[in-house]
């Protein structure tokens, strides 16, 4: 199908950001066959033989004779609420009763379950709802149509006279449940997508409602199953001793003492270190402590983060590759008598999701079966198949709940997944659960890269920015990955500058330059990707310019956003709800603002902080979000709360440092994440909208750190340019 039409129907052509647009363009060229926006049919599998089990109506919807609507979820449920969101769209158009809907993860099957914005099966970029909003509704409408056809045939009445509500089909005095019609419905032909009529927003009964309880159940009573909980007959537990330095290799090792330990079954070398297999985790980890390993660091990264940041500070004084250019900012700045210049510094960040990386694998010759919280089904499946020299059809992935992700589980080289497979293929037929300790997880890299930015601007007679030059130095997260070809063009990794290169502020002359650096520390996307750092520079810098102009920070932004009604509306809503300029703060308190657009959605946050000596506390956050249609408002608010907490953790404390190539942090006592006592109250307001849904999981993260920094500036008069924030 035509990509433009897809964009218009499924993602909203106005809400897809630049990086996604270029992503799509390339995807369309390389894998157009996977981009069928209306694909919900299950090909030959669609009309499988009727059995006692669920009757499949299409790739996403089955009905059991006992009246359960089973929905297959093509994305990973890692807390963002995708089970509930996708099932809501299906149940809405199917007119199912919400109470009869159950969800489970779809298997890895790119042809059936691709993310329509990526062309491959995977979860990320806050696209789960955006890419599937139309597809799920069509799948629900198709299932409904098949049920209606079945009832019409059975009752010998026109289909148009049958009504469906709350999972019951009715014609006059006759009625039937979905379950009663399941077998007959599964024998109906799949309707043509074009023949389905979908509801208008005014007709929604589930979408946009507050009372649709989540479908990822069992999380309040310990019943939910994560990778950590998978137990298979004869399974061994594996831990791996990794090189302390990135790029280090095993030179030699002695496994004697480890092998003599009770419970330890095998010790062997794999690409990434020495694997210890035991009957249980404790034995495996005690066995690992008994290993004696000599490492070869000849190819290892041996620099520390202080050296690396020092290099970056030098780089931003030199010209980089041009990512964005309007006018001649450099010349205007050179001719300006008064240039504001700020240098920003950002540390490496670990994801530190609550469930450390783990994966269960069983290899039999050239086939593999996997059990884990799989975020990147297509990528992992292909990587496993390649490693085993087999076809993807021989790699079966069973996806279970993930204990948080924040980007980490979608590893571009399937690092922890392939580690599990490499171990499992050494013990053919035996299932192996690879478990990383917290220390393994924190020291394994794939961090949000460290960056240094330099921003310089001149202002016109009214104090408005006239020209701005931005230089960014840091590692590319896309370089060397399968996405590199799509996301890097002319030496610019769009994710290194997104949020700056496409900023909404109306500044006549602007230039964005990038230095992509070569460092041997593995890096990866981290909740909100480039916006984790670009939004901070942009929003703190704008505040600094507003102060210099003697302007109110909200009014100053609104003036620069005159041509952007969406950001204007979101910022105004947050300001109004927070009482910006109308409420008095206690002594020692300050209020700060930030607004940013990412993943197709705009979020504004207004923060109150209290300062006492060298300590401060974030007291209150008022957020406003425009994410198009809010499929589940409670989950949208939960995700904004979550995104704020995650970003606030980085604003206050998170930082990975390296000394001579060794990661200094090991666990939560040295990588200090946000706890309950530092969590502010959060109030989230959703802009009413009938536009197609856009991202929700990530867009709340970028504004929080700059809003806090700006609030601190309001109290102290100082400008904060380094994360994590410190008063002294």
């Amino acid at each position: 199908m035509n990509i433009n039409r897809f964009l218009k129907s499924a993602a909203g052509h106005q809400t897809v950001d630049n990086s996604r647009r270029s992503f799509l363009k390339v995807s369309a060229g390389t894998s157009a066959g996977l981009m069928l926006g209306v694909s919900f049919n299950g090909s030959a599998l669609a009309q499988s033989a009727a059995t006692d089990a669920a009757l499949e109506l299409n790739a996403f919807v089955s009905i059991t004779p006992d009246n359960v609507v089973k929905v297959l979820i093509k994305h990973l449920e890692m807390g963002q609420g995708v089970y509930t969101g996708l099932a809501t769209c299906i149940a809405e158009e199917m007119d199912a009763a919400w109470s009869q809907v159950e969800c489970e993860h779809a298997p890895a099957n790119t042809a059936r379950y691709a993310n329509l914005l990526m062309g491959q099966q995977g979860t990320g970029g806050s696209t789960a709802i955006a890419n599937s909003f139309m597809q799920m509704r069509q799948a629900g409408a198709a299932a409904r149509s098949m049920l209606v056809s079945a009832a019409a045939a059975q009752w010998q009445v026109p289909a148009s006279e049958i009504t469906v509500s709350n999972g019951i089909l009715t014609h006059g005095a006759r009625s039937a449940t979905f379950g009663e019609l399941a077998i007959a419905a599964a024998q109906q032909p799949s309707p043509d997508a074009e023949s389905l009529s979908l509801k208008t927003p005014a007709e929604f009964k589930l979408i946009g409602q507050e009372n649709t309880l989540r479908k990822d159940v069992g999380k309040h009573n310990g019943a939910a199953i994560y990778t950590q909980d998978v137990k298979l007959p004869g399974m061994l537990t594996a831990v791996v001793a990794h090189s302390p330095r990135f790029g280090g290799k095993v030179k030699s090792f002695d496994a004697g003492a480890a092998l003599a330990r009770h419970g330890v079954r095998q010790v062997f070398e794999i690409d990434s270190g020495i694997a210890v297999l035991a009957t249980d985790y404790w034995s495996a980890t005690k066995g690992r402590e008994l290993l004696s390993i000599e490492w070869d660091d000849s190819a290892a990264e041996t620099r520390g983060t202080a050296d690396i940041l020092q290099q970056y500070r030098g780089l931003v004084d030199t010209a980089g590759a041009v990512a964005e250019s309007h006018g001649d900012a450099e010349q205007t700045l050179a001719q300006s008598a008064d240039v504001t210049e700020l240098v920003f510094e950002y540390p490496y960040l670990a994801h530190a999701q609550m469930e450390p990386m783990n994966c269960v694998a069983q290899v039999n010759g050239t086939s593999a079966e996997m059990w884990y919280g799989c975020q990147s089904a297509s990528g992992d499946q292909a990587a496993i198949a390649q490693l085993l020299g087999t076809g993807i059809e021989h790699v079966k992935i069973n996806t279970v709940f993930a204990g948080g992700g924040f980007g980490r589980r979608a590893n571009p080289v399937s690092d922890y997944v392939l580690e599990a497979v490499r171990i499992a293929r050494q013990v053919q037929g035996t299932p192996v659960k690879l478990v990383w300790s917290r220390e393994d997880d924190m020291q394994a890299g794939y961090y949000r890269p460290a960056y240094v930015h330099k921003l310089s601007a001149s202002q016109d007679a009214n104090g408005k920015p006239a020209a701005i030059q931005i230089r960014v130095a840091g590692q590319s997260i896309m370089a060397g990955t399968s996405l590199g070809a799509m996301m890097i063009s002319n030496g610019i990794d769009i994710t290194s500058v997104e949020g700056l290169s496409d900023m909404s502020y109306d500044i006549p002359e602007r230039q964005v330059e990038l230095h992509s650096t070569q460092v041997g520390i593995p890096v990866q996307w981290w909740r909100s990707v480039g916006h984790t750092h670009t939004a901070f520079s942009k929003e703190v810098f704008i505040d600094a310019l507003a102060r210099k102009a003697g302007a109110d920070p909200v009014a100053y932004r609104l003036e620069l956003l005159k041509n952007n009604p969406r950001e204007t509306a979101v910022l105004q809503l947050a300001a109004e709800k927070a009482g910006w300029g109308t409420t008095q703060l206690p002594a020692g308190w300050g209020r700060g603002v930030a607004v940013h657009t990412s993943f197709g959605s705009t979020v504004a946050e207004i923060v109150d902080v209290s300062v006492q000596g060298n300590n401060f506390k974030v007291e209150r956050v008022v957020a406003a979000i425009d994410c198009g249609i809010a499929v589940n408002p409670s989950i949208v608010r939960a995700q904004v709360e979550s995104a704020i907490a995650y970003g606030l953790s980085a604003a206050l404390a998170d930082e990975v440092t390296l000394t001579a190539g060794n990661v200094d942090q090991t666990n939560f006592h040295t990588y200090r994440v946000l706890r309950m006592n530092a969590m502010p109250s959060v109030e989230t307001h959703i802009v009413p909208s009938t536009n197609p849904p856009s991202g929700v999981g990530e867009p709340g993260t970028p504004p929080i750190a700059p809003a806090v920094a700006n609030a601190l500036a309001a109290v102290t008069g100082r400008t904060f340019t380094r994360l994590p924030l410190k008063l002294a």
Partner: protein, 158 residues
């Protein structure tokens, strides 16, 4: 050597080494997987269970030191406070990824069993040992207050 443990009201004879943390006994020997491994050094609270009514980190508590204690895991919580907390958790849709939530529920239940009308400061003090990377803290706080209301009101009415 075998250790006799009382877990969720049942006796279990466990033959493991004495220094094995209770967490791994519960999870891997008894298949009570609601209790989670998060850090292994009593920093995150994902492994919290009640031991003689006290919220306790099992990743650093040895099986040898668990003998003779009344151990209650997330699967065995039965008090009215536990029920109220779990009901509030579902109603307010507290969990996101959910991995830390067994520990959160055990800590919140323990708080409520000891203090039927906790202040914000009481909640911060009782709950700050339980990390949630999804940032469900505001809903946890609201959930504890919702659950507490039923006991506080009941006590007030009595």
């Amino acid at each position: 050597m075998p250790y006799l443990l009382t877990i969720n009201g049942q006796s279990h004879e466990i033959d493991v080494e004495g220094d094995m943390p209770l967490l791994w006994v519960v999870r891997e020997q008894l298949n009570l997987t609601g209790t989670k491994f998060g850090c292994g050094m009593a920093q995150c609270g994902a492994c919290t269970v009640q031991i003689d009514g006290v919220a306790t980190r099992t990743c650093v508590l040895t099986v040898a030191d668990s003998v003779g204690k009344n151990i209650v895991t997330i699967e065995g919580l039965q008090s009215p406070q536990a029920l109220a907390i779990q009901t509030a958790w579902v109603e307010l849709q507290v969990p996101q990824c959910g991995y830390c939530q067994s520990g959160q529920v055990v800590s919140a239940t323990t708080l409520l069993e000891q203090n039927s009308n906790p202040t914000d400061a009481d909640i911060d003090a009782a709950m700050s040992g339980n990390i949630c990377r999804c940032g469900t803290y505001p809903r946890i706080k609201a959930g504890i207050k919702m659950a507490a209301a039923q006991f506080y009101n009941a006590a007030g009415a009595a």
